[in-house]
């Protein structure tokens, strides 16, 4: 078996290595992509634009707006005279939040009557408005808390007021740096795309050019042929993934607390999923166009949306959560985050590792069975 | 009156000169054969005349149209069939042919008439609705031919139309072209590496290494052949024959196929001398008429 495969691997390697451009791009492209996007994208909420209408400029309104600005999330883009202007700012997207302080807000506040503040939020960006709302509500609650404290001191009540009492600790990524939690997702995304698509195209291209027909006459099984075809790409992807992970550890300050052996295992298994998937697609496609269409639809968006990369899986409807079980990137991202950021060990991540391994075995055997039954042409 | 005239045509690909300063003129109502081995520059020349490739130097005129400047003007008159019988594999024979008819803006009624005619003449009836990817090469060739002539072009460019096709189909193919030329007052250029197909042409052009090394009417060329050809049967081993013939004077070239040896000699050498010089038994040697292979080989010898 091995002896039969070797010539194919050699031929494939010679072909790939001869094409300088494609070998460099296969090796370096993943790292370039990771860097570009690793630096570029973030989910931080900052500089949410606020328009303010505050005629009175009371102590309350000043304190409140100062608090908002110093939080780092907001930027005041306009101070308006009338509530109408605030509304038009929202409509034309000049600001996302409008805050209107009504006159005598502080007095009303202490007397506890009349609405005193109106907050208008442009809800169309559901993402940032969630933050905004939560933040504003929290800010108001805290403001109240302070006011109550002052009031209690003023009226000198029976008991000394209790101080705020929350100690917060963010584990694993204390500064909540975007790259740290996005990089594992990006790595998975890049491996999936380059792995699955390069495998698919390399096989289907031979199918379409009918060069397979030539080779099939040789006394080897189609299975040997495919394996021989895939191993070189697999090896190259492995090398490029290693480079990519190494560079990201170095440049993005990933803590990398976990075991490197475990990490390598996860990468290999995930790559196996990707190439197995590519293999399966190429066995069912007749042309490059079909193969690529299937590959594009089944890897691009699902790997980003259904993997927990950005959208937390347990917020999805239950049926959709079930679908995420067949997205291998989901397990891989969980494992990567565990190893790179938390230093988790295999014993802590065994469900994900087991699922990923089962997935790899299933997808590779599915394509092998398909090849054995139907051949490759 | 020349329908196509080509002057000092040159085309280079990097360091390689594919077509090297060639000039020729073609008369109307003729089949012109571009003969020569693969890579001799036949296809490149045809592509330049069709306007598919831009020459580096030289001029091409079809009647009065400068093809290099106005390729579109000449297109309506041209029919082109490429050496890989470029058809859409996922369309049927019928769909392929009619598609090209549409590109030439042939009116529907006329288009259907021509289609019916062509399927008759080329015997395509039973293959009409088969995907061209499923057709054998010989049939694909006929479909490609039909696609190339559906708009009744008066200039036919057929690039290696017979490669990979069986001898009977090749014969039929030339019959069709001849009939077409006569009925449509057309002119054809056919490139081929089968030197035997020269016989089907009015005029042949022998290509070698980017140059035309000989041109003229086939009969004329054979007549003007200055050398003698002998054929002999021998039981000697190849090495021994080579040894003998290489050391004999007056022998231009020889080639061995099977047990027979074909010898091209200087004009003034006859059987007697051959026998003397080589020691081959005279009763075994015969004089044969020269073929185009002989012509070609004698010309490319040096």
């Amino acid at each position: 078996m091995i002896r039969r495969i070797l010539p194919f691997i050699k031929k494939e390697f010679t072909e790939i290595l001869r094409d300088r451009l494609s070998i460099t791009s296969l090796l370096l492209l993943p790292s370039i992509l990771l860097f570009l996007y690793g630096y570029a994208i973030s989910l931080d909420i900052k500089e949410i634009k606020i328009s303010i209408c505050d005629k009175e400029r009371s102590e309350f309104s000043r304190e409140f707006t100062d608090g908002l600005i110093s939080s780092g999330y907001f930027r005041i883009t306009a101070r308006r005279e009338s509530p109408n202007e605030i509304e038009s700012d929202l409509r034309t997207s000049k600001s996302q939040v409008g805050i209107i302080f009504y006159p005598s807000v502080y007095k009303n506040f202490l007397r506890n009557n009349e609405p005193s503040v109106q907050i208008l939020v442009d809800g169309s960006n559901a993402q940032s408005s969630q933050y905004t709302l939560n933040y504003l509500v929290g800010a108001i609650e805290r403001f109240t808390q302070n006011a109550i404290k002052k009031e209690l001191i003023r009226i000198n009540t029976i008991q000394t007021p209790t101080e705020p009492l929350l100690t917060e600790r963010i584990l694993f990524n204390p500064l909540l740096k975007s790259p740290l939690y996005l990089i594992p997702g990006l790595i998975a995304f890049v491996i999936m795309i380059t792995g699955a698509i390069s495998t698919t195209i390399s096989i289907v291209k031979e199918k379409e050019n009918r060069t397979f027909e030539q080779v099939i006459l040789c006394p080897v099984s189609p299975f040997t042929l495919i394996i021989g075809k895939i191993i070189p790409y697999f090896v190259i992807s492995l090398v490029s993934s290693a480079i990519m992970i190494l560079l990201s550890i170095l440049f993005f300050d990933l803590p990398t607390k976990g075991s490197l052996l475990f990490l390598s295992y996860a990468v290999i298994i995930f790559l196996l999923c990707a190439s197995g998937f590519g293999m399966l697609i190429s066995t069912i496609s007749s042309s490059q166009q079909v193969a690529f269409t299937i590959a594009a639809f089944s890897t691009l968006l699902p790997t980003i949306i259904l993997s927990g990369f950005v959208f937390p899986i347990n917020n999805m409807p239950e049926i959709i959560q079930l679908i995420t079980y067949i997205v291998p990137a989901k397990y891989f991202i969980a494992i990567l985050r565990g190893i790179l950021l938390k230093g988790s060990s295999l014993s802590e991540l065994y469900p994900e590792t087991l699922s990923l391994t089962i997935f790899a075995v299933l997808i590779v055997s599915a394509s092998i069975i398909r090849i054995k039954k139907k051949g490759i042409i | 009156m020349e329908i196509i005239s080509v002057k000092s045509l040159t085309k280079r690909f990097g360091n390689f000169t594919a077509v090297d300063n060639i000039s020729f003129g073609l008369k109307p109502l003729t089949i012109n054969g571009f003969l020569g081995p693969n890579g001799a520059g036949k296809t490149t020349t045809i592509k330049m005349i069709c306007g598919l490739l831009r020459p580096d130097e030289g001029s091409i005129f079809i009647e009065n149209i400068d093809v290099i400047e106005n390729p579109e003007k000449a297109r309506e008159k041209m029919g082109y069939m490429s050496q890989n019988f470029s058809l859409y594999p996922d369309l049927t024979a019928r769909e392929n042919i009619l598609f090209f008819a549409d590109l030439y803006k042939i009116k529907k009624s006329e288009r259907d008439n021509r289609y019916a005619e062509l399927t008759d003449e080329l015997n395509l009836h039973e293959y009409q609705n088969t995907l061209t990817s499923d057709l054998p090469l010989g049939i694909r060739q006929r479909v490609a031919l039909a696609s190339a002539v559906i708009h009744h072009p008066v200039l036919l460019f057929l690039d290696e139309p017979t490669s990979g096709v069986d001898p009977i189909s090749r014969m039929k193919f030339f019959d069709f072209i001849r009939k077409y030329i006569n009925s449509h007052k057309a002119t054809a250029i056919v490139s081929t590496h089968f030197l035997t197909e020269a016989a089907h042409c009015n005029e042949i052009f022998l290509f070698n290494r980017g140059k035309i090394i000989l041109s003229g009417q086939p009969a004329e060329i054979i007549q003007n052949f200055r050398y003698n050809i002998f054929e002999t049967k021998t039981s000697l081993l190849t090495g021994e024959i080579k040894n003998i013939l290489n050391n004999s004077e007056g022998i231009i070239e020889f080639y061995i196929f099977g047990k027979r040896v074909r010898i091209i000699t200087e004009e003034d050498i006859d059987i007697q001398q051959i026998s003397v010089r080589t020691g081959i038994d005279i009763s075994n040697i015969s004089v044969v008429a020269p073929s185009f292979e002989d012509v070609f080989i004698s010309l490319t010898n040096d």
Binding site: A40, E141, T144, I148, L180, F292, G338, E348 | G51, K105
Partner: protein
């Protein structure tokens, strides 16, 4: 004109003949929108959460109740060991934890420095951020209630919240138009990029070159076929967005159609361009994929806000048609913005579309050398 029509007919026939491609091009976007439209949600609820209550008092129980009744947190484990909390967090079984020390209640009544510890997993940044905000708010409320219990007159900010355009803050209202745009770019940019170059690979392009068909006719013929398929997708997918996901379509249908057509022209233009400058389907598809599609996914504002992108990279966002298209769609659907309000986006789309088409026409000469 006749030539283009017959070319389109031929294209459609070829697409139809491949039994797989048409179903995929029509069914896949629909299925994906149905799944992804639900999946792409920023709502953060049901944060898995554990409690370590060393106090076991009424107050500590009340605080825990405040957490669990909020629908933000879902109580998964209750334990008395901090090491267990550590393992739960590092294995990812829970995302945050609340630790209430002994004497919590006693200190609450007597001492100024009562403490509870709130832990959260920073590996999923969004979740961590939001859970912190929730925790702070819940705690402030808890204290306020506790303190105001001793007062006869309670000061409070009466605030009125008004959320415009998307009052329920449904993520799907925000994400469905964007997913729609991205699916459309697969159908109208990635796949067509292989179309023209396929004729180069099979050699049929030479056959076309010798006919009187003009280069622009070949391009328009090819692209119109994909335009047709894209429009079918647009109709189905818009219907699903509006009727199934209830994304409000507040803008005018005319503006929507204009935006879609402009977007299709620019994406098909990009496809054409790469089809003309490459020689194999593989090259064409890889270039479009890495030079346009991936940037479109990550830099267009689809998920990651454009304002967060460093300026140097943001220039890439500005040349992607998707950046403008997503912006238009979101504003048009949710705010009912008009062309005059979004003229910058509309003109950028047109500009990109026209520029890229002119560029590819210039490139696509009849000569193949």
């Amino acid at each position: 004109m006749w030539v283009i029509i017959s070319f389109i007919k031929k294209e459609l026939r070829q697409i139809k003949r491949d039994k797989r491609i048409l179903p995929i091009l029509v069914v896949a976007p629909v299925l994906q929108l149905l799944v992804l439209g639900y999946a792409a949600t920023f709502d953060i609820k049901n944060i898995e959460f554990a409690v370590c209550d060393f106090d076991m008092s009424n107050s500590s129980r009340e605080l825990i109740d405040n957490f669990t009744s909020s629908s933000y947190f879902i109580l998964k484990y209750q334990t008395h060991s901090t090491t267990e909390i550590d393992t739960l967090l590092s294995s990812g079984r829970i995302k945050s934890a609340l630790i209430i020390p002994k004497n919590f209640e006693k200190q609450l009544y007597t001492d100024r420095n009562t403490k509870v510890l709130f832990l959260t997993d920073g590996t999923e940044g969004t979740m961590a951020n939001v859970s912190l905000m929730y925790a702070r708010t819940i705690l402030s409320r808890f204290i306020n209630r506790y303190n105001t219990g001793q007062m006869y007159r309670v000061p409070a900010i009466r605030y009125e919240l008004r959320i415009w355009y998307n009052p329920d803050l449904k993520s799907s209202n925000f994400m469905v138009p964007a997913i729609f745009a991205l699916l459309l770019s697969i159908v109208a940019m990635l796949i067509p990029s292989m179309a023209l170059v396929k004729e180069k690979e099979t050699g049929t392009i030479e056959q076309l070159y010798v006919t009187p068909i003009k280069p622009y006719q070949i391009i328009f013929g090819k692209m119109s076929a994909f335009m047709l398929i894209s429009i079918i997708d647009v109709v189905i997918v818009t219907t699903i967005a509006v009727l199934w996901f209830n994304v409000p379509l507040r803008g005018s249908l005319f503006d929507l159609v204009a935006a879609i057509l402009l977007f299709l022209i620019s994406t098909l233009g990009i496809a054409t361009f790469f089809s003309t400058v490459t020689n194999t389907q593989q090259q064409a598809m890889m270039s479009v994929m890495f030079l346009f599609f991936l940037p479109s996914m990550l830099l267009s504002g689809f998920i990651f806000p454009v304002e967060n992108i460093p300026l140097l990279v943001r220039w890439i966002s500005y040349i992607l048609p998707l950046t403008y298209f997503i912006d238009i769609l979101r504003n048009l659907f949710l705010k009912g913005s008009t062309i005059s309000e979004l003229w910058i986006q509309y003109s950028m789309l047109s500009l990109i579309g026209i520029a890229i088409f002119i560029f590819s026409l210039l490139k696509f000469r009849k000569n193949i050398d």
